[in-house]
């Protein structure tokens, strides 16, 4: 078993409990020992990044410091694209900008902590594709998802700010991972477009249009489901699908799953233990494969 520190993020304990549950199921089966960081706090996302940008960095840095203190030189694994982007941005600012470093050091010293900048922040997708490896994944598939057409939806944050893992415009890791389960991955031009994010609460009209764009293409490409790697994307595409239909007269009915759930199905876990019941748009036949 390979040891990693795990940072579930706020949504992991709330709206995306099913995501976290499926991750908890599949990771031991793939040789990953994900240990939740104790006493973690919000990564400092969304409103905080624009209203109190420095505080946002301090919040992230505290989480990073906790992972470092936990020791073992293990990487910090996150499952939320937003947490991923925010934590890495904090790291980068800390490394590059002296004034940020000074501020963060001072704030952390105030609570008796220290961040050295050594811990690596990684998305679970990267760990699966690079550390576990696609060949190993393929070997463990017990129930190949042959014939299942899936649209991989990455959202806008996985490759931004630029990193060595994903291309901001043409991400591919989830395509490869889903192919490894035996599923058919459809071409999906809007795979890295915005889901509307937090606009869904402040400017719903604009956000619904974005959701419609993404879902319409997936439907036009005859996908049976959309697969995401981010709780925010999942929520917008799933919970607001009915509203999109009402607003635009569309008849979309696309279940929106997490890649961990799809992977779980192929590894032989059951739909309910993977949390597939907790959907706004029912998964229907997808879960019975």
């Amino acid at each position: 078993m390979r040891r990693y520190w795990y940072y579930p993020g706020c949504s992991g304990h709330a709206s995306a409990r099913d995501y976290q549950r499926s991750v908890a199921l599949i990771s031991p089966a793939l040789g990953l020992d994900l240990v939740e960081v104790e006493d973690w706090n919000c990564c400092g996302t969304t409103a905080m990044t624009s209203v109190e940008p420095r505080l946002s960095v301090v919040l992230s840095a505290r989480n990073l410091a906790l992972a470092e203190e936990a020791g073992g030189r293990a990487d910090l694994v996150v499952t939320c694209n937003s947490c991923y982007a925010i934590l890495r941005r904090a790291q980068e600012q800390y490394a590059r900008r002296r004034e940020v470093r000074a501020e963060v050091d001072e704030a952390l010293a105030g609570i008796g902590r220290r961040y050295s900048g050594t811990v690596r922040v990684r998305h679970l997708l990267e760990v699966l594709v690079r550390d576990v490896g696609l060949d190993a994944l393929r070997e463990r598939v017990r129930r190949p998802l042959s014939g299942l057409r899936l649209a991989p939806y990455y959202g806008c944050l996985l490759g931004r700010p630029r990193n060595d893992f994903e291309d901001p415009e043409e991400p591919l890791s989830m395509d490869r991972l889903l192919e490894a389960t035996g599923a058919t991955v459809v071409r999906f031009d809007r795979k890295s477009k915005c889901c509307g994010g937090a606009l869904i609460t402040t400017h719903e009209e604009a956000a619904l249009e974005l959701v419609r764009e993404v879902l319409s293409e997936a439907a036009a490409r005859e996908a049976r489901a959309v697969v995401t790697a981010c709780p925010m994307c999942q929520f917008n595409l799933d919970a607001y699908q009915a509203k999109v239909n009402a607003a635009f007269g569309t008849r979309l009915r696309l279940p929106v799953l997490y890649f961990s759930q799809v992977l779980g199905l192929s590894l032989g876990f059951g739909a309910s233990e993977l949390g597939l019941g907790q959907r706004f748009v029912p998964v229907g036949g997808v879960g019975k494969l």
Binding site: E169, D189, R190, E213, S216, E217
Partner: protein, 653 residues
């Protein structure tokens, strides 16, 4: 050594130095330094009256060492050395203190700048005491020249040199000369036919008795120095004997293997044995080994069977030539940004999204559609003409995610394409731009003309191209309307950035050329030495130095030829006396220095039991000097005591 009498001149450089540095204060400081006889400050030391000051002091005050505190020695060291010589003093009895580039221009506070200037002047004064007169050396200049790259700039350079009666080797990497210009349809702003004006020059270059064309060849290495370069060229195997081939074309008619044509940007096919385009020079095919059935499987051989002249030769091997030349012009051109790196613009995703270079082939009568602008479906051209076309400027240019610079030629090229599309199809054409840059003779007028033709200009960079229900949409922020727009079109043309040519890094290393941050070759001075490089005798012309349009490339080609001709015509060239020397008495013969010299200039002499430096080969880097355990090696003009003198002053002041 006779008594040292030093003159120090502190230059104001107008206000460039004097605004920040207290020049009078530095002058007074210098006056009190040991050995200083004269100290002056003056407005412009490099101007005639400044030079005259120096001359008269040398003559009338018995000055035998000179320090000028002004700009960078990379700027004016040669100027002042000549002034010394003209007054009868050896030019090496001179030292510059760089109080402009390294002091007044980079320092915020006056007081600190003045203090720093004092330290630099003190160091120069102390150093110059130890200077010794050095004699310039001259070497003969080989009367042949090499031009690398057979695009329009290289062709122009080769022709100009050849017409002056000098022998030229023209080396081209590809199977044909002609470069990027050969792939263009019309040229802006006159709309004359690119091929019509280029091909006569290509033919002349191939036939000129003073030019030897080496196509399908690459430079592998360069040795020697200005006036005397030895260049190794690899002639890649064509698998067709040039001397036997008549260019009849039977071989590529018979070849069964189709490959996407590079020349047509993948919009048509060529064969595995091919000439890149009908007007190729030389008109001799090459076999693309990686796609040839014979080479891959051992079967086929159709070209060999059908060749009426038995010119196909599968056994041919790469050959190596060594050329002896006096000067080199590098004209290795450019590439365009490959938009598959940026899928947001839909290239490679949607078949009716084309690059500007692909569209050049579509509108060209010898292109894949015979000059018609047609839509594609399922990989094939249809008969359908687009009703609306978007031309997107600045794809990859002026974009910090890709290339921050302006590619300079694409605004005009885009306008030209917009005009041609409109003319050929009557389509509604949208031009998405950030700014229109139409600086050039007749360029603004062309822009006005295209506007009047009904092209729609949308001021906003095309952000992305997406398909919805089979229709392409260009997304952009229209910054004049202040609105976000999605414009439905049938075809999109991407004006992609001009980038350094693939292999530019290697070319730079082979020829000792520096590259700028953008990856293009660096000229030795951006204003006054646009064609020279840091290596004497090696010149750069055309787009390898940065994006340029055709007239500028041609002018540079001719300019490079003028540089070469002035070098060759002079017949001999001065080379620096700054070389290493060995005190044979002190040398223990340990040979530590021998393998350190990249030019193999140091040899061990068995008889004397000591090493010796071949001055003709030594370039004066001084690496050997720093390694000598017995202190027997020294470098003229960069001796230990000279550098120690500088260290003492700058470390303590």
């Amino acid at each position: 050594m006779s008594e040292v009498r030093i003159a120090v001149y502190v230059c104001h450089c107008g206000t460039n130095i004097a605004d920040k540095v207290d020049v009078a204060g530095v002058r007074e400081f210098a006056r009190r330094l040991p050995g200083v006889e004269v100290a002056r400050d003056y407005q412009y030391m490099c101007a005639d009256p400044g030079q005259e000051l120096l001359r008269s002091d040398i003559r009338e005050r018995g000055i035998n060492r000179v320090v000028v505190a002004s700009c960078s020695p990379r700027m004016h060291e040669a100027t002042f050395r000549q002034v010394l010589e003209s007054a009868g003093l050896n030019g090496y009895l001179f030292e510059m203190a760089n109080i402009r580039e390294h002091c007044s221009w980079v320092t915020e506070e006056s007081e600190l700048a003045t203090h720093k200037a004092r330290a630099l002047v003190a160091a120069a004064v102390k150093r110059v005491r130890f200077h010794a007169p050095l004699e310039e050396r001259y070497v003969e200049v080989n009367q042949k020249a090499l031009v690398v790259g057979g695009g329009i700039a290289g062709i122009e350079a080769a022709l100009k040199i050849a017409r002056a009666g000098k022998k030229v080797w023209l080396v081209e990497r590809g199977p044909s000369i002609g470069g990027k210009m050969a792939g263009l349809d019309k040229t802006f702003p006159t709309l004359d036919c690119s091929a019509c004006i280029l091909t006569p020059k290509m033919v002349e270059a191939a036939q000129h008795p003073k030019i030897t064309l080496l196509s399908y060849s690459e430079v592998e290495g360069v040795d020697g120095y200005v006036g005397n370069f030895q260049v190794t060229v690899r002639r890649k195997a064509r698998y067709v004997r040039e001397e036997d081939c008549t260019g009849c074309g039977t071989c590529y008619q018979k070849c069964p293997k189709k490959v996407p044509s590079e020349f047509d940007g993948g919009l048509s096919h060529r064969k595995a044995i091919y000439v890149p385009f009908p007007q190729a020079v030389p008109n001799v095919p090459v076999i693309d080994r990686s796609n040839c059935i014979r080479f891959q499987t051992g079967r086929c051989g159709a070209c060999e069977k059908f060749c009426p002249r038995d010119a196909v030769d599968f056994e041919q091997e790469d050959e190596f030539l060594t050329l002896e030349v006096g000067a080199v012009i590098v004209a290795t051109g450019y590439e365009t940004f490959q938009p598959q790196e940026a899928p947001q613009w839909g290239w490679g995703r949607y078949e009716n999204v084309l690059t500007a270079r692909q569209l050049e082939r579509l509108v060209n009568a010898s292109g894949p559609t015979g000059g018609k602008v047609l839509l594609r479906r399922d990989g094939e051209f249809t008969d359908e003409v687009p009703k609306s076309v978007a031309v997107l400027h600045c794809i990859g240019s002026r974009d910090e995610n890709y290339y921050p610079y302006c590619s300079r030629l694409c605004c005009m090229a885009s306008l030209k394409l917009a005009h041609l599309i409109r003319e050929k199809t009557g389509a509604q054409v949208y031009s998405f731009y950030i700014d229109i840059r139409s600086a050039g003779k007749g360029y603004e007028e062309f822009y006005t003309r295209v506007q009047a033709e009904g092209i729609q200009f949308i001021r906003g960079k095309g952000a992305e191209v997406l398909e919805r229900d089979g229709q392409l949409y260009v997304h952009a922020e229209d910054t004049l309307l202040g609105a976000y727009r999605e414009v439905p079109v049938d075809m999109v043309v991407l004006s992609t950035a001009v980038t350094p040519a693939p292999g530019a890094e290697r070319v730079a290393q082979i020829f000792g050329i520096q590259r700028g941050q953008d990856g293009f070759f660096l000229e030795s001075h951006p204003k006054l030495e646009p064609l020279k490089t840091a290596t004497e005798g090696i010149y750069i012309v055309g787009c390898c130095q940065g994006p340029k349009d055709i007239p500028d490339s041609v002018a540079q080609g001719a300019g490079g030829a003028a540089e070469v001709l002035s070098l060759l015509t002079a017949g001999r060239v001065q080379i620096s006396p700054v070389v290493a020397e060995i005190d044979a008495e002190a040398c223990s013969g340990c040979k530590v220095c021998v393998p350190l010299c990249p030019y193999s200039a140091i040899k061990y002499d068995e008889e004397r039991g000591a090493c010796g430096v071949n001055e003709a080969l030594c370039k004066g880097c001084g690496t050997c000097v720093a390694s000598c355990p017995s202190g027997a090696l020294s470098c003229r003009h960069f001796t230990d005591e000279q550098i120690y003198a500088q260290i003492e002053e700058v470390s303590s002041l």
